[in-house]
């Protein structure tokens, strides 16, 4: 990575580490169980949002079907634990299962042009949910229960989730700054032009979809282990897939920190507002989406960036530090 050239460059480099350190040290300050639970949920959902953003944001292949990877992660982790493995081995299995599933969706549809991938992601979600509703070894529609032979430790769940979201941020940052990330951005803008420069759009999409699915699978496993009980109508629901997509879109599609911001907002809205005012959260999402689509396609992060540019002080500084011309 290149050395940052101005203040905002240094902030970008330092802030993630400060945030990470704060999250690691937070339990020492004795927060309430509810704060830990909320941060756990934020970390889990942000991980899925970051995963989705790799294929939906960076590569421009919109998927409504990430609930499949989330649910598969949940069930795979549960089954691994059922057969006596550690949950952490279960998370690895969850990532692998989700990646395999991603190839089932991607192999036939990424070859086609047009909306086939999007349509397939909707169809596969519904199909998998129906299958899981009727699959007897996982309890069908009545769900699955995980039993652990040790006392419930919220902090272990918390740290696992923080590790997952840190991994997702790290993977996203590395990809965004790599030649692979550059190719993905090229594919998003014009996949034929990208192919004319030697980029293979088909295999690129397959791999980034698999990485995205893997991260989402891990998040599903971590979520399921803490919830200890889950059912297909929850983890495989179409609305779960929408939630995963909502975070990067609200926060800032295609960026690394947009989904993080979106994840924080998502959990606040889900946990605080939807409890007090049922269905009110849908109005909030709807309004946010309209504002974002009409005014700022780059999401809240884009809006923040634009606001900062309004300060003349900041502007002068960027002009000094920026490239000539």
């Amino acid at each position: 990575m290149t050395r940052p050239q101005n203040l905002s460059g240094w902030l970008k480099l330092v802030l993630p580490w400060l945030l990470f350190a704060a999250l690691l040290l937070l339990p020492a300050t004795g927060p309430s169980d509810n704060i830990i639970r909320l941060l756990f949920l934020t970390a889990v959902w942000t991980t899925t949002g970051l995963g989705w953003n790799l294929i939906g944001g960076m590569t421009g292949q919109v998927s409504f079907g990430f609930a499949v990877f989330f649910g598969l992660g949940a069930y795979t982790t549960a089954l691994f634990m059922q057969y006596g493995h550690t949950p952490y081995f279960g998370f690895v299995g969850a990532a692998a299962a989700a990646m395999v599933a991603s190839f089932f969706i991607g192999l036939p549809t990424f070859r086609l042009r047009g909306p086939y991938f999007v349509i397939a992601t909707i169809g596969v979600t519904e199909a998998v949910r129906v299958i899981m509703n009727n699959l007897e070894i996982t309890g069908g529609a009545s769900g699955y229960r995980i039993t652990e032979n040790k006392p419930f430790n919220p902090l272990e769940h918390y740290y696992t989730a923080i590790a997952a979201v840190a991994l997702a941020v790290l993977v996203s940052t590395i990809i965004a700054n790599s030649k692979f990330g550059l190719a993905l951005r090229a594919i998003k803008q014009d996949q034929d032009a990208a192919a004319d420069l030697g980029v293979n759009p088909y295999t690129s999409k397959l791999w980034i979809h698999a990485i995205a699915a893997g991260l989402t699978g891990i998040a599903g496993g971590i979520y399921a282990r803490r919830a200890a009980f889950f059912y297909p109508g929850d983890v495989f629901a179409f609305s779960t897939g929408i939630s995963i997509l909502l975070m990067p879109v609200i926060g800032g599609i295609g960026t690394v920190w947009g989904p993080v911001l979106g994840g924080v907002i998502f959990v606040i809205v889900e946990e605080q507002i939807s409890v007090k005012f049922p269905n009110f959260h849908l109005l909030i999402y709807g309004s946010l989406l309209i504002i974002i689509i009409l005014l700022e396609p780059d999401g809240l992060l884009g809006l923040l960036r634009r606001l900062f540019r309004l300060f003349p002080h900041q502007q002068a500084k960027t002009r000094l530090a920026g490239d000539p011309g």
Binding site: R185, A186, V199, G325
Partner: protein, 248 residues
Amino acid sequence: MAILEVEKLTKYFGGVAALKDVSFDIPQKQICGFIGPNGAGKTTLFSVITGAHRPSGGRVQLHGKDITGMDSAALVKKGVARTHQVVRPFKAMTVIENVQVAVHYGRRAVTRTSAAREHAMEALKLVSLDHKAPLMASALSLGEQKRLEVARALATAPELLLLDEICGGLTGAETRAMMELLHRVREGGTTIMYVEHDMKAIMAVCDRITVLNFGQKLAEGKPEDIQNDASVIEAYLGKTDFGSKKRA
């Protein structure tokens, strides 16, 4: 020794033959021009050779190996690159990033970012766009976008370069600079196939010219021979009834 051998290449769009039994060889390190009236099949020929369209019949060989119907990304890695008549820059990326993609994924397959940026800068210098490197590609004028298109194709380090109307929309001075560039690229060992409507430009720069008409090869030869070929004049200007009457 021919770098590219095209044998009876045919392409139908529905019932219309855009290319019909077109055969020719491209000798190494030459600039080979392709001309013909609108709809003669020049762009289709490029699209079929570079894998954007699958041919309905015929064969394309690179260095004696069959590459018919191979996809564009694989061909770029084998050293065949093309530009498009209608430019397609990645507008939400900077000028240098546009070229960097080609350096990373072209024949050289450079992995390190710093090395790729150096190579990209060299390609931009060739088309005199290095001073625009940090700008967004959307900020370029049409002429600059045309040059960016050429820089990207050059950055893949091609052995065979297919250029489709790179001078459309360029000023006279820019066109002359582009012709000089083509000579330099050829001296660097790259073979060029070149489609252009600007007759002056193509006659000046090409070693050989192939004329297409209604998807078929009409004539082939040195620029001066092509200029005097009766069938070529007929294809462009129509039958010279007036002249024959006078002679009678």
